[in-house]
Every structure is written in C-alpha cells, then in structure tokens.
Amino acid sequence: MNLFTLALAYLRSRLLASVLQVLLLAIGLAAIVVMLLVSTQLADRVERDTRGIDLVVGAKGSPLQLVLSSVFHVDSPTGNIPYAEAMKLSRHPLVKKAIPLALGDTWRGYRIVGTEHALVEHYGASLASGKLWSGEMQAVVGAEAARAGGAGGGPIKLGDTIIGSHGLVDGGAAHDEHPYEVVGILAPTGGVIDRLVLVSVETVWDVHPLPPGAAAAAAAGPPAAAGAAPTPAPKAAAAPARDDGHGHAGHSHARPAAKAGAKPHAHAHAHDHPHDDAPAASRPGGDAAGPGGSAKPAPGRELTALLIQYSSPMAAAQLPRLVNSATAMQAASPAAESVRLNRLVGVGVETLRVFAWVLLVAAGLALFISLYGALSERSRDLAMLRVLGARRGSLLLLLLLEGLLLCAAGGAIGLLAGHALTEWLGRSVPALSQWALTGWTLAPGEGWLVALALLIGAFASMLPAVLAYRTDIAKVLARG
C-alpha cells in the first residue's frame, strides 16, 4: 500500500472512464506517431533516392509520374523514349552522367530494371555476394527483394532462377520462357535499389519480343495491371524488320550511357532473337500518358528513362529546356517534383495532424472532467486520508499521479500502436508498401510525445490536485 497502489486502485474503481481516457490519448498519439514516421521516412527516402540525380528524362506526360516511376519506382512510367535520342542527350557536354533505365517487368512485386552497372555505383550499393551482371539473362537482386523472394519464402541464393512477370504489378503474364539467373545479391543500402532486380538493358529488350501488332496489347493487358501498368516497358523488341545485317540502331550502342563509365557489356546482342523484329508500334501498354514514346514510329530500341547528373550548374538552366522543347522527350527535376509531392501529401498530413491534436485536447479535457468531477465524491476519502496522517502534499501527489499514470499508459499504448500501425500500413497497403515503410524505427520527436503525454496528464490533474490539497477536512467530515 502506497500512493502508487492507491492511485491505481482509484483508477480501477472508475475503470470505464479510465480506459476511455487512455484510449483517447493513445489514438491521438498514435496518429501523431504514424504521421511522424511516415513523413520522416518518406522525406528520408526522397532525399536519399534523389541524391545525385539532377534530371530525369523520359516520355512526355506528368513530370511527377516520371520521377515517381524512374527514381522512386512506385508509379508506372509515362512511356518510352527512343534509345537513339536518349544516347544523343547523354553525350551532351552538360551531362556528366547518364544512366539508362528500361522498365516493364516485375518479379514478385519487385521491379526488374534494365540498366547499367553505373546505377549500382550511383546508389552506393555493394555486392553482398556474387558479381554484377555481365551477360544477358543475368540478374543482380537488391537486398530486400533477395530476402523476401526465394523459393519457399526463404532468401534467394546465387544461381537461383527467377521469372519475371509482365507489368509493374503482380499478376502479369509470366515470362516463363525467359528465366533470369541470379548472379549477384546486393548488400542493403536502405534506398530504393534494395527493392530492385537489376539486369542489363539488353536483357529487358530480349525478354520483350513481341510479335507484330496484337500481341502487344495482350501482353500489356493483364487486367490487374490496368491501373498501374500500361507497361510502357521498353519493348525493346521494337526493332525494325530483320535488320540482321546492318548496324541495327540499338545494337551498336551496347552502352547507351556513354558517359557513365566503362560498361563491360558483352555485346553479344543477339539478333538471332526471333522476336527482335516487332515493329515499334507494337509497343504494348497504350501509354496514354506517353505520347512521346508511342508516337515515335521510328524503328529502334527504346528506354524508359534516363537518370542524369549535370556536369555544371549551368545545366540546370539549359538542359531541361533543351529536352522539353527540342526533343519529344520530357525532362523532370526530382527535386522540384519532390517538393510538389510534399505539397500534395502535405494536405493529408496536415489533416491528420489537426485530427490528432483535437484528440489530444479531448483526452486532456476528458481527464480533467473525470478527475474534477470525482473530486466531490472523493473529498471524504481525501479528508479521511488526512485524518489517518497523510500530508496535504500526499493528496496533491495522489491526484497528479492518477493523471500521470493514465497519460503514461495512453502514451505507451499510443506509441506502440503508432509503430504497429505504421508497420501494418507498410506491409498491407500496396501504395505504401512500395515506399518500404517500417514501424521498426524511431521518428525524431517521439521523445517529445512522451513528454507531451505526461504534460497533458499534469495539466489535467493540476486543478483537481490543488483542490485536494486544500481540502478542509473538518468541514468535509462534519458534513458526514
């Protein structure tokens, strides 16, 4: 028996009200925690994933969509761009580094990206095991994809084969006839590359050998993919008819990113591939968003996007304008689009914030009303405590302790619930799972939330506690 157990006993004696107050506070705090976790993780990711990428060049359409699809790998691309044009741009003097991306398929929800070794280097990833791809149909798997993706649920191993499915969401037609061999697994970076499966650009081209015409539509259209995947993957196959002999456009540029450093691509780019000959028009996936790409009737290989790093600050003024006006392509700045994204998300976050604060104020009020209302009914108990020898200060402490205990419980439950909810959101809400949200991390400012919860408790119980302190015991006892 002490003040602590006495406070607990009083809380228990009005269990319903206590639980209600704890819940109100917990919900308010959980909302704030979710908000903090989501916004800091998104901001972190945006910051990390856009670092070093000054410009994204892709098909015309929504610039935000272009950045989302090519930098964060969450939205569907805007379309495709002609490989030749992309190469021309990558050789521009204002371009320091240009990394090609060819999208179109996924493996268990992880995107298969046709690119160059420069991408691995750019994201600062290192190999956990194996080697980088050196030939076609070789894949290097990002850490997170590797962890989740092995047969039977275990992690994937070197030498395993993986089969991509068409489209950027699960459920597309499987490319059964094109298994990739896992030759490397990347160490975790915490960035977007953890969730990617990397192959060479040529591999992507080879996997998408569409027969002329209709097949394209078929391939594009697993209905599940309808929303997210008008897969404008570089139907690389969009080659002209049997140009076996001569310098097939795509062919000669085994290294699209001329400036990106040495590409050890074994350029055995096989033109014996039977389907290398689909006309460009067969590029599936309607690409409503990407008139640029699809409008291009010219024969040739295509890419989805080019990640560009400027060679000089001057480029920021010139290059986007050049791309947007002089080519059929579109240039989008990840930084600018991130700001736009923040503004869009900001409205929701702001709403949640207001909601959370209203809940917290309500919790504080409910606690105050409950403690204050119970005071007259408890005045005899309090007086009796004094008769038994308790000091005035003990009564003050008792009431404060009740408020603080409730708020500590609400705070603890709120924080746990906030983390659990974030983890659940990250796992279960498809739109968010792509952002790799996790509840297993602390957001800055959570310590303040604990302090805030206790402060609410202290404030709400202050007046009742002072009134308890001032109880006139003779009067209360004489009243009987």
Partner: protein
C-alpha cells in the same frame, strides 16, 4: 469517580489535557471547555444533543480543527505547536478516529484499508498485524473484500480496527451506536471498550445515545456549548 483533574494534580499517564478551550465560528461561540484531563486507558463519554457541538469538540481534540482559544495536549504535546504535515503525522500516529460515517476507502480491500492507515501515518506496513486485528474482530475471512460488501456492523469493526491499528494513545469515536439496534449497540460498545482497553488507549465516545450512558461512568456533559466534565 470522575473528579475533575486539576492541573496541579496530574497523574503521570495523562493522555489528553484540555485547557480553556473555546471555538467560534464567526462571532458565535460553538463550544467551550474550561479544563479536562483524561488518563491512559480511561473511557469517557461526551454527551450532548445533536448540534450541541460534540463533533466540533471532537475535531478540536483530534487536531482536525484548530480551536479559537485554549490548548489541547495529547500525550503532552500541545497540538497548537504542530503545523502542517507534522500535525497530520502526529494525528496519524497518536490519535485514532472512528467517524460516525466510517469513511472506509471503498476502492480498497478491507485489509488494504488497514495498511493504508499504516502508510498514511508514515509507519511500515505490517500485514501480519493487520490480519491479526481483523481476526480479533472476526473479519479474517473478509480481508480481501471491498468494504461496501460488508454489513454495517462489519464495516464498523473494520473502521475500529483501522482506528486502532497504529496503537494510538487516544481513540475518539463519533456516535458509534447511532445506527445500531439494542443488541448490536451493546456489542459494539463492548467491542470498543474491550479493544481500547487492550491497546491501553484512552477512549472518548461522543454520543447522544441514552443506551450508552449506563455503561461508562466518566462523562462530559455538553449543554449550550459548554462542556463540563461531570
């Protein structure tokens, strides 16, 4: 019996000593008591009609109310010299109060009510002593029940056990028999006298109950606000 103890004739074991006490609310004097002395182990009655100031006097004796004038000494300590928490502590350790309305803490078990009395007085919690007290009052089986589940008589016994648990030198009971029928009245009185006697405490029973009068000889009559030991 009942001679008025004069100041120059104090017995060594004087537990309660009142001198020239008066208490006023505003200008109206509620209660006055020229002099009174109670020795250890003595039972006293404080007799008076309802509203005669019994409770006020009792509160003055318990250090709950500071008298407007005069002094109250308990165990030789003048209550007026104690302030704030020192007075609370002193009261908790030396004075046991059995209020008319009992005021048991209902969210605590019977046993915890006793432990609370120890805690509030700043004494170590002695569960064995508390259980022993309950057992002595026939409440051993109810230790873990909430007070409101008990009969009034049982509750009164719990309150008595609580008043005695810290072995006070002075026990003050306010109308302990007013809610009881004749049989229970006699039993409660027996219990009070017995328990107070065992612990060697002086006992002051404030009452207007005629049934009590035959049992205790020492008495203070309170008429018109004037308390005179008879």
């Amino acid at each position: 019996m009942t001679r008025i103890a004069r100041r120059d004739n104090l017995r060594p074991m004087t537990v309660l000593e009142v001198n020239a006490l008066s208490h006023r609310y505003g200008n109206a004097t509620v209660v006055e008591m020229p002099a009174w002395s109670v020795a250890a182990g003595e039972p006293w009655l404080l007799l008076g009609a309802s509203g005669s100031g019994k409770t006020t006097l009792l509160h003055c004796l318990a250090g709950i109310l500071a008298p407007t004038q005069g002094s109250v000494k308990v165990g030789g300590t003048d209550l007026a010299t104690l302030h704030g928490s020192a007075l609370d502590r002193f009261r908790g350790r030396h004075i046991g109060l059995l209020p008319q309305r009992l005021h048991l803490i209902d969210c605590l078990s019977v046993l915890d009510n006793l432990l609370l009395a120890q805690y509030a007085a700043g004494l170590p919690r002695d569960a064995a002593a508390a259980r022993g007290a309950l057992e002595a009052l026939g409440l051993a089986g109810r230790a873990h029940e909430r007070p409101h589940r008990l009969s009034f008589g049982q509750q009164q016994r719990v309150a008595l056990a609580r008043a005695l648990i810290n072995r006070p030198t002075l026990v003050l009971a306010d109308e302990p028999t007013s809610n009881l029928d004749d049989g229970n009245c006699a039993a409660a009185l027996d219990l009070l006298l017995d328990q107070a006697g065992r612990s060697g405490a002086a006992l002051v029973i404030a009452t207007h109950d005629q049934r009590v009068k035959g049992r205790i000889e020492r008495r203070v009559e309170l008429t018109g606000g004037m308390a005179v030991p008879a």
